[in-house]
């Protein structure tokens, strides 16, 4: 009997395999191991700059790589056609993909093309031991509740997952398993009505908050956009970046790339400092996996304190400058 087939649709940016690909490959490996299944990672790119073997070390049994100039910059139409072709031939049981802007664009069209379901932004994935189905858990209804979703009949069962939701496996000592294959793709599948005209790289430092060890975030409690300078100062001393709650971004105090939460970015830094953020469930969904959480808030009943390891209850306009000064002294003393 053939085991279940798990496919990870990886993400490649400028030839480099994005870290979410490893996170999903590791997760797929865990799921496959509960039922004797196999894991295949698929990478579409204009040409890989990274060694694909790293993926075989992180749990994939097979790596399929498709390289074509049209894929060097994200092209939704070509991606959907190529992936639909591969998935129709391979008929996997489960497909996992990153909930990045690319994944959240390709995957719904791909799922509709394959006439199956898709669950967005899953925060939990497990195999149901009774039915053998993938249990897909995601925050629902503005992030106030968690919904667990199944795709009972149609295949594949498809889910997208935000970067940093799962930890990438430590594969430094693992031996590569499996093989690298290059599937035959009919050339017309690379034709796209969507024409790429170029990309302007953002200078916005907020866009990399997912990759930093420290994130200092502010909310409506900061009262005005200028107050974010305090956070920038503190973040700089800690080698971190600045995040913001949805209300602060909606008030245009910070740009959207800084938004932490269900409708922004999911961050999992070593240290997360929330200042003037009350802690709506939708915000908590974006930072609850942080290693150590510090909350600064005037309201002792604010829900942010429930998820904090350390709470400083008082006026943030008093506390933050004192904290910054103290840390400046500490850093300067070394």
């Amino acid at each position: 009997m053939k085991g279940k087939q798990f496919f990870v649709l990886g993400e490649v940016r400028d030839g480099h395999i994005h870290s979410v690909t490893f996170e999903l490959t590791g997760k797929a490996r865990d799921l496959a191991d509960t039922c004797g299944g196999t894991v295949t990672a698929v990478l579409l790119s204009g040409g890989l700059a990274d060694d694909p073997e790293t993926l075989l070390r992180s749990g994939a049994d097979r790596l399929m790589t498709v390289e074509h100039p049209v894929l060097s910059m994200y092209n939704q139409e070509a991606e959907v056609k190529v992936l639909a072709h591969i998935l129709r031939q391979e008929r996997p049981d489960v497909v996992l993909a990153p909930a990045t802007t690319s994944g959240r664009t390709t995957l719904p069209a791909l799922a509709a093309e394959l006439e199956t379901g898709l669950t967005a932004d899953c925060t939990g994935l497990e195999m149901d031991p009774e039915t053998g189905l993938l249990l897909q858990t995601r925050p629902a209804i503005g992030g106030n509740v968690m919904a667990t979703i199944k795709t009972p009949v149609r295949r594949p069962q498809m889910a997208t997952v935000r970067p940093r939701t799962f930890r990438a496996p430590d594969c430094s000592n693992a031996l590569p398993r499996g093989e690298v294959t290059r599937p035959e793709i009919p050339p017309e599948l690379f034709e796209s009505r969507v024409v790429n005209l170029g990309i302007e790289r953002a200078e916005d430092g907020g866009s990399n908050i997912q990759d930093l060890d420290v994130v200092v975030s502010g909310g409506k409690g900061l009262k005005r956009p200028e107050s974010f300078r305090m956070l920038e100062e503190l973040a700089a001393l800690l080698g971190g970046g600045v995040g913001a709650s949805r209300p602060a971004v909606e008030a245009k105090w910070m740009g959207y790339p800084h938004q932490v939460g269900l409708s922004g970015k999911v961050v999992a830094p070593k240290v997360y400092i929330a200042a003037g953020i009350s802690g709506a469930v939708q915000h908590l969904a974006g930072m609850q996996t942080a290693g150590y959480v510090v909350a600064v808030n005037r309201d002792p009943d604010a829900s942010i304190f429930r998820v904090a390891d350390l709470g400083l209850c008082g006026d943030l306009f008093d506390i933050l400058p004192r904290l910054t000064e103290r840390i400046r002294k500490e850093v300067g003393a070394e």
């Binding site: 509709a112 379901g117 897909q136 209804i141 979703i149 199944k150 009505r193 005209l197 103290r326």
Partner: protein
Amino acid sequence: MKIAVLIKQVPDSDDVRMDPETGTMVREGMGAIVNPLDLNALQAALDLRSAAGGEITVITMGPPRAHEALRECLSMGADRGMLLTDRAFAGSDTWATAKVLAAAVKKAGPFDLVVAGEKATDGETGQVGPETAALLGIPFSTYVSALSLADGGVEVSRTVEEGIQRQYLPFPCLLTVLHALNEPSMPTLAGKKRARRTEIPSEGIASIGLSQEETGLGGSATRVVKISYPTISRTTEMFDEKRIDEGIERLVAVLRDMAVI
């Protein structure tokens, strides 16, 4: 040019209650608004109509009261509304919803352009737009934050992780848009008057040519099997106003232990 705007009526706050028995949203007594990003989609359509002329049809699937949302769009300047309401649509997942919208777009069309918000504030999946485009077989783009007419199509800027990606799409095509695209205008008095006079046709499953198996719960690929309330909590060391210095010292010690400083 002919433009379709796909909109959704959503609860007006995040504070939504769930029925613990059925696992569905309790909509009674809730205020309802047009999904904010859908207003950006409508504004984009209004701007294109000012530039190139044409007609705007606003389409929504929902309960009968969703006609309020269409009425609001008419008062902002849309020409026509189409309400897709039928018990058979109830329980639709994003795919089943997209099948209804695609069938409606076909019936009311042909359109040069279909526009929608990138996602709705209640479900936050962002899936219905791309799914609808796939079912219509037309090119699409997402996360659109700037838009202009270009030779037989549109040029768009997509706000993505690395920056701004620019694409050209020929008509007909579908776009999902972000808040940054524009500032939605307010309904005008004249618009409100006109909206009251405009009849909004209601379409059911038969009139858009779908079968019971294709939509609603039966036509959905996914099923919600469990609703649970997240219980996140950590043990918090609290320092109140009088012990802030102590709290700061504690934090510095932790940061040192974690090798952050």
